[in-house]
Symmetry: C2
Subunit: 363 residues, 2 copies
C-alpha cells in the first residue's frame, strides 16, 4: 500500500465514507496531504501484519466538534507538539504514527504528522470507522492505556492527562477542548507492535482507498456508485453485510454544537426506492437509523448518508434541507461487535434506549 497523488482522491472519499458522517470534513485534510505529496514527500505506510517487534507508535487525531473543524482546521504542527510531549512523559521516542480512527480528517492527519516527523504510518486504526469519544476504540476495549494523553491548541498551549481510565481522560480533555475553542490536536494511546497486533483494526487505510476506488470506477463506468460500494463490502475477502436502508430527501436537520460535540438528527422523506420517513440521530457520527420508527441500523454498525447519484459521503456538519441521499448500513468488523466492545460503543454507551442489533438481523 502506497499513498500517491493518483490514489489520494480515492483514499479521501473512502475515509469520508468510513467516517459515517463524522471525523470532520476530509476536504482540508486532502489539501494538506496534496501539498505534502506535491513537495515529493514520501509518506511510508507500514503493513500491520509485518511490523518489526520494536515498533512503538503513537495515535494522533483532532478532537472536537466537526462543525468547528470547518473554520478551525486540524493543525499538523500542534499535533507534533502533542506527540513530543507524550515522548517527554514516557522518556521514550516513537518510531511510528497511527490513526485512532479511519474516518474523515482524522484519517489524513496521521499522514500529515508522518510527513512532518518523517515517521511511517501504520495501516490500521482503533475502530475502522469514526466515533465521537476517546474511550471508544478497540485499543481501550482490549486493555491498552490511553495515557499519557496530550492535547494542544493552535497557539501551542498543551495539556497532559494522566487518568485512571480512558472515559475519565475523555471527560477532562473534552472540557479543555471546549475552552480551546472546540478543537484540539491530540496524541494518545502509545502502543507497542504486540499491542497493535492484539487490538487494532487492520488495513483500514487500504480499505479506504479500495472503497473510494470502487465508487470512482462505478461513476466512470456509469454504474450505480452506491450499489458498487455495497457490492465491494459483500464481495470483500472478509465479506460484510451491507444494505441500502433508505432512499430519501432531507426535509429537516436539527443540529447543535454542544459540550464539544456536534449533536442532532436528520429527517428524510422517501423518494423512488423508499416510502415513509427515516430519522438518523448523530453525535459527530451517525448512531442510529429508524424507518417509520422501526430501528434499521445501530452503532457500531456503520451508517452513512451518501449523495444518491454520486455516492459522495455527506458529513453531519454539512447536511442540509434538500440533500438527496441514500442511507446505507455496513456491518462493523467482528472485533467491534463483541460484548466488551458494545459496552464501550454500543447504543447504550450513547445513552440510547435501544440495544445493538446486527444489521443483517434487521433486514
Amino acid at each position: 500500500m502506497k499513498l500517491t497523488r493518483d490514489n489520494l482522491h480515492d483514499f479521501i472519499r473512502g475515509a469520508a465514507i468510513l467516517g459515517t458522517g463524522g471525523g470532520g470534513d476530509p476536504y482540508v485534510g486532502r489539501l494538506m496531504l496534496e501539498q505534502e505529496l506535491r513537495k515529493g514527500t514520501d509518506i511510508r505506510i507500514l503493513d500491520p501484519d509485518e511490523l518489526a517487534d520494536d515498533i512503538f507508535a503513537i495515535n494522533v487525531f483532532s478532537m472536537g466538534a466537526p462543525t468547528v473543524f470547518v473554520e478551525k482546521i486540524p493543525n499538523g504542527p500542534a499535533t507534533v507538539t502533542s506527540v513530543r510531549k507524550v515522548e517527554q512523559v514516557l522518556g521514550r521516542k516513537f518510531n511510528a504514527i497511527m490513526p485512532v480512527e479511519a474516518g474523515g480528517v482524522n484519517a489524513t492527519l496521521p499522514l500529515i504528522v508522518g510527513a512532518l516527523t518523517g515517521l511511517p504510518v501504520i495501516d490500521a486504526d482503533g475502530m475502522g470507522r469514526a466515533f465521537p469519544e476517546l474511550q471508544m476504540v478497540t485499543y481501550n476495549v482490549y486493555g491498552v492505556d490511553i495515557c499519557p494523553l496530550v492535547t494542544t491548541d493552535d497557539f501551542g498551549n498543551s495539556v497532559t492527562y494522566e487518568t485512571s481510565d480512558a472515559a475519565r481522560a475523555e471527560w477532562l480533555a473534552r472540557g479543555v477542548c471546549v475552552r480551546m475553542g472546540g478543537i484540539s490536536q491530540a496524541a494518545a494511546y502509545p502502543m507497542t507492535a504486540e499491542q497493535i497486533r492484539d487490538t487494532a483494526v487492520r488495513h483500514t487505510l487500504t480499505l479506504s482507498v479500495e472503497i473510494g476506488q470502487a465508487v470512482r470506477e462505478a461513476r466512470e463506468q456509469h454504474r450505480d456508485p452506491v450499489g458498487a460500494l455495497l457490492d465491494y463490502f459483500r464481495k470483500a475477502r472478509h465479506p460484510r453485510h451491507a444494505a441500502m436502508l433508505f432512499d430519501g430527501k432531507v426535509i429537516d436537520v436539527l443540529r447543535e454544537t454542544k459540550h464539544g460535540f456536534t449533536v442532532g438528527r436528520v429527517l428524510l422523506d422517501g423518494i423512488e426506492n423508499s416510502s415513509g420517513t427515516c430519522e438518523v440521530t448523530f453525535r459527530n457520527e451517525f448512531l442510529i437509523a429508524k424507518q417509520d420508527g422501526r430501528v434499521a441500523a445501530t452503532v457500531p454498525d456503520l451508517i452513512c448518508c451518501l449523495d444518491r447519484e454520486t455516492a459522495e459521503p455527506i458529513t453531519t456538519e454539512s447536511l442540509k434541507y434538500g440533500n438527496r441521499v441514500k442511507v446505507v448500513g455496513i456491518a462493523a468488523a467482528p472485533v467491534m461487535r463483541t460484548p466488551e466492545a458494545l459496552a464501550i460503543f454500543g447504543p447504550r454507551a450513547f445513552k440510547m434506549e435501544e440495544d445493538f442489533t446486527p444489521l443483517e438481523a434487521l433486514g
Copy 2:
C-alpha cells in the same frame, strides 16, 4: 515564627480574615493541621528574608468554588501528587512549599503538604489575601511563570498545563476543575529564592497569627474585637489604612456556584453605627462594597465581613440572612496597588465598571 497547637487558632482566624470571604472555610484546614500537630509533626517555617540561595519552592493550593469545599474538602495527598508531577516535568526536586494565597483553607493546605513531604513552608505568599483566579498573584504580575501547573482530583487523576501565560492556564484548568467536581488540588509557580525575594508578599503567615491574636486578646479583655483588628493594621510596623465601612444585618444573599466559582452579592441593612444599605459583590472573595450606591472599597483592598460581636470572619459560601456583621476595609500592601498589579486584579480585571480607588481616598 513557629506554628504550634497554641497559636493554631489565632493563625486560622487570621487567615480567614485575610481570605476576605474566600479561600474556603479554614475549619477543615484547622482540623487537618491539628491532627498533624497532635502527632508531633514539626512544621518548619522559613523566613523569606533569610532564604538560602538554593531554595526551590512550589506553590500549592485548592482550586475551585468555596461552596463546593464544604462537602469536597481539600486533599493533602492529592496535592502532593501534583507537586511530584511538577517535579517530573522540570526534572528537579523542590526543597520548600509555599502558599499562593494567605487566606482561608489555602493558607493551611501548604502546611499540610509541608507535614506530608517533610519540607519547610515559606512565610510569604502571592497576594497577602485571597483571589479567585490563578493569574491573580504578584508572582505573575512581576514575571514568574505559572507553568508547569498540575491539578489532581481525589482519585489521583492529574492534568498538567503548559501554557503561554497564567490567564490561559486559569481558563483551561478551571474547565477541568468543574469536571473534577468543582475542586482540584494544584501545584504551580515553581520559584527560586531570588524570585521569592523579588515578587512575594512577605510574612503573611506571621501576619495571620498576629491579627488572629489581636482579635482573641480583645475578646478575652472584653474590648471590641473589630476595633482591635483595625488598630492592629493602623499601628503595624508598616501601617495600613483600615476602617469599618458598615455595621449591618444581612437582609439578602444572592449566591450561585457557576463555572467553578462562587459568585453573588450580599445586601445589608444598617444597624446601630450605620444607616441605609450596603451591598458587597463577590466572586469567591469580596470584590467591591457600596454604601447606598456609593463605592466604599474596591479590590485589591481587602473587604471582610466580620461577626459584629466577635470579629469572627464570615465566608462568602456561609453568609446568610440575619448575620449581624461589620464590613471592614483594609488597604492592600503597596506591591498590590501598582498599575501592573491593578491590571491583573483591580476591579476591571473582574469586568467591573469601577476603577480602583484607594480605601483611604474613599473615606
